[in-house]
C-alpha cells in the first residue's frame, strides 16, 4: 500500500486510509526510536532540502532529526540568511536547490497555498511544514497520533481546539484530520479569533472555554501569537489569560481527567498555566516525541519505498 498523494500539501487532500498508513508506519519508526541505534538506512539514496521562509525551531529540528534517523542527506535553507532577501522568487529559489539534485522539499512559508503553487511548478515531492493560515499537516498527524496513543483510538473522541482559530494552520489541519478519523471537534476562543464560517467544516463553536472543557475528552490549546495584540482582535493578554487561559483549578473542577495538548511554543501564564502544562494530564512532550516518528513516516512513504512489511 502507498499514499494516494505525491505531496503532503495538506490533510485536506488525504484519504482516511492515508492517515492510517502513516500511523502504522509511524508505529514502526517509534519502535526504532526506542532502540540503542535510532537509525535505519532506508533513505541513504535520498537528499532532502528543508526550506524555511518563516522562522521555526521545533518543526525544523523535528524534520531534520527524522531525516537523519532515516539516513537521508539534508540541507537547510532559511530565508533570512538567503537570496530571498535579495528579491529572488520562490520558484527560482527552489529550482536552484533542485538543480543540485535534491529529491524532496520540506517547506514552511508565510503565504497560504504556497506549497500548492510550488507543486505546480516543480517536480520534486513537497512536504508542507506550515503555510500561512492554511495547514500544518504533520502537526495534525502527530496530534492525532498522540491522542490515539493516549486514548487507544481517535474515533468517537471529543476534541476541543482552544485559542486563535482564525490564524492557526494547526487548527485547520487538526479539524480535517480529526474529522477524517471520526472524532468530534469543537473550537473555542474569543469570537474575533474564530472564523465566521468555521461551522461549515463540521465543527462546534463555543465561546466559553469552561463549557468546552466540560464537553471534551481532549483539549488542544493553541498558542496566542503575541503580535496579534496589535490588531483589534482582543483587548489585552491579561484579559485573554483571565477568560481563555487554562489553569489547574478549572481542570480540577471537571470531575474527569482530560488530556491536554499544545503544539508549542507555550506562552506560560497566557493560554496555559504551568500547573497544567507540566501536569500528568499533559501530553505535550509526547507530541514532540511522536513528531519525529510521524515525520519519518511521511518522508519514508513519500519517497516511494512502499509500506514497511515486518
Amino acid at each position: 500500500m502507498s499514499l494516494s498523494v505525491k505531496h503532503l500539501l495538506g490533510i485536506k487532500e488525504l484519504q482516511p486510509q492515508d492517515i492510517e498508513l502513516i500511523f502504522r508506519t509511524a508505529d514502526t519508526f517509534k519502535q526504532v526510536l526506542q532502540r540503542q541505534i535510532k537509525k535505519v538506512p532506508a533513505l541513504r539514496d535520498t537528499t532532502i532540502a528543508n526550506v524555511f521562509f518563516e522562522n521555526s525551531t521545533r518543526t525544523r529540528i523535528s524534520f531534520e532529526l527524522a531525516q537523519k534517523r532515516l539516513s537521508a542527506d539534508t540541507i537547510n535553507f532559511a530565508a533570512s540568511s538567503s537570496s530571498v532577501s535579495k528579491g529572488e522568487t520562490l520558484i527560482d529559489t527552489v529550482n536552484n536547490i533542485l538543480a543540485m539534485k535534491v529529491d524532496m522539499v520540506v517547506m514552511r512559508h508565510s503565504a497560504s497555498g504556497a506549497p500548492w503553487f510550488l507543486a505546480n511548478h516543480i517536480d520534486a515531492s513537497i512536504i508542507n511544514a506550515g503555510d500561512g493560515t492554511n495547514e500544518h499537516p504533520t502537526q495534525a498527524l502527530l496530534d492525532a497520533f498522540s491522542i490515539r496513543e493516549r486514548l487507544g483510538e481517535v474515533k468517537g473522541k471529543r476534541v476541543a481546539i482552544i485559542g486563535d482559530i482564525m490564524h492557526s494552520r494547526v487548527a485547520l489541519s487538526n479539524i480535517y484530520c480529526l474529522n477524517k478519523l471520526g472524532a468530534e471537534v469543537m473550537v473555542a476562543g474569543p469570537p474575533t479569533l474564530i472564523p465566521k464560517h468555521i461551522q461549515d467544516l463540521g465543527v462546534k463553536v463555543e465561546y466559553d472555554v469552561k463549557k468546552a472543557l466540560e464537553w471534551a475528552d481532549v483539549a488542544n490549546v493553541l498558542r496566542i501569537q503575541l503580535e496579534r495584540q496589535h490588531k483589534p482582535l482582543f483587548s489585552t493578554l491579561r484579559e485573554y489569560a483571565l477568560y481563555y487561559g487554562i489553569n489547574k483549578s478549572m481542570l480540577d473542577s471537571l470531575n474527569k481527567e482530560m488530556v491536554i495538548m499544545h503544539p508549542g511554543p507555550i506562552n506560560r501564564g497566557v493560554e496555559i498555566n504551568s500547573d497544567v502544562a507540566d501536569s500528568k494530564q499533559s501530553i505535550i512532550l509526547d507530541q514532540v516525541e511522536n513528531g519525529v516518528a510521524i515525520r519519518m513516516a511521511v518522508i519514508y512513504l513519500l519517497s516511494g519505498k512502499g509500506e514497511i512489511v515486518e
Binding site: L172, P195, K196, H197, L201
Partner: protein, 419 residues
Amino acid sequence: MHLLIRQARVVAPGSEFHDQIVDLLIQDGIIINIGKDITAPDARLLEAEGLCVSPGFVDVFADYREPGFEHKETIASGLDCAAVGGFTHVLVAPNTHPATTSKAAVQYLLKKAHGHAVSLHPLGAVTRDIEGKALAEMMDMHGNGAIAFTDGWKPVQNSNLMLKALEYLNAFEGTVIQIPADAALSEGGLMHEGPVSTRLGMAGIPVLAETILLHRDIELLRYTGSHLHVTGISSAAGVDMIRRAKAEGLNITCSVTPYHLALNDEVLTTYNSHYKVNPPIRSEADRQALVAGLADGTIDCIASHHRPQEWDAKAKEFEYASDGMNVQEMAFSIAYDAVNGAVPLERLIDAIAVRPRQILGLPGGGISAQAQADICIFVTGTQNTVERPRSLSANNPFIGKSFSTRVLGIVNNGKYTIN
C-alpha cells in the same frame, strides 16, 4: 474600402432593423446600404453561420497600464485587445504612473489612441494623484476629454472627499465611477470570505466591504443628487442595494465584470493566482444574483475590468501575486456563455453596447443606413478557443477554454479590423 456583411442578424435594441436578417454594405466607414440581397463585387465579403451585427461594444472600465507599466500593456496593445473583443469605445482607468490626474495626462492618452479603430475615453482621477487626499482638477480634465471620474482600483475612502467630488461634478453633470470596496474591511483579505476561504485557510474579504461603501455612497448620492456609476459589483447584497436605490429614483447605474458573471469562489481551490481579483470572485449565490441583476436591468452594463499583469507578477505565492484578470478580448464570449439561457442576447447587447452609451452620453448605439458605422460583428453557435491573446500579458484563466461565440471584427472611426 468596401465591406459586405451578408445575411447577418441585427441585434440593436431600439433600432429600425433590430432582429432582422439583412445584408449591410459599408464603405469608408459609413453604412451605405442595409437590405436584402445586396451585391458589391469589389467588397470584402463576410458571411458565416450565426452571423450577427450589433452596435460596437463599450467597455466601461479597462486598465491599459501606460504610462508606467508598459511591460504589462500599452495603449496600442490594449486598443488591439479591445478591437479583438468587439469594443469600439473603451474607458481607460487612471491608475497609471503618473496617474491620469491632469489635463496633460488626458491629452497624452487621447493623442496615443488617435487614429485607432477603437475610441479611447480617459477616466480622470477623482483625487490628486489618486492619493485620496484632495480633489483633482476634474473640471479641467473634463474640458479636455475625460469622460468620467474615478480613483479606479483605489476607491475613494474619505466620506467628505467623496461628498465633495459628487457635488463638484454637478457643475457639468459629470459621473463618478466607484468600485465598491471599503479598504479597512478588505485589508489583508485575499478572496471572498465564506466557507471556501475558511476551508482554504485564506484571509477573507467580507461582502460587508462592498455593502458598507455602497451604502455610504448611496447616502451621499441621495444628498447630492449627482450621478454615480458603481463598477465591479460582486455580491447579491450589493445588487439588492442598487435595485432599491434605483427604485427610489436615485441616479445610480452599475456594471459587472464578465468573470464575476462566470465564476464562483470554488475556482480558488487550487490557489491559482489568475483568480486573484478585486473585488473578489464571490459565492455561487452571489454569482446567480449578478446574472439575475443583469437580466432585470438592475445591472446596466458589462465592464471588463481588464487588468494585465506580466507573468512574473502572477507566478508567485497567492498572497504576493498581483491582482487582476486580463479578459477584455474575451469579455463578450465569457459573459455570453455565463448568462446563456438566463439573459437574452438582446439584453446582453443592450448591456455591453447600448446602456453604456446612454449613461455616458456617447454617440452610436443603433444601426441605420447612411450613418457612421460603429459596429461589432460576431457569430453565435460556434466552438471557439483563444490560445494566443493579443494582450502583452497572459494573466487570463480563460485561455484555451471553449466559447460558443466569436467576435469577428469591428468597424469604427472609418476603419475596420477583422479577426
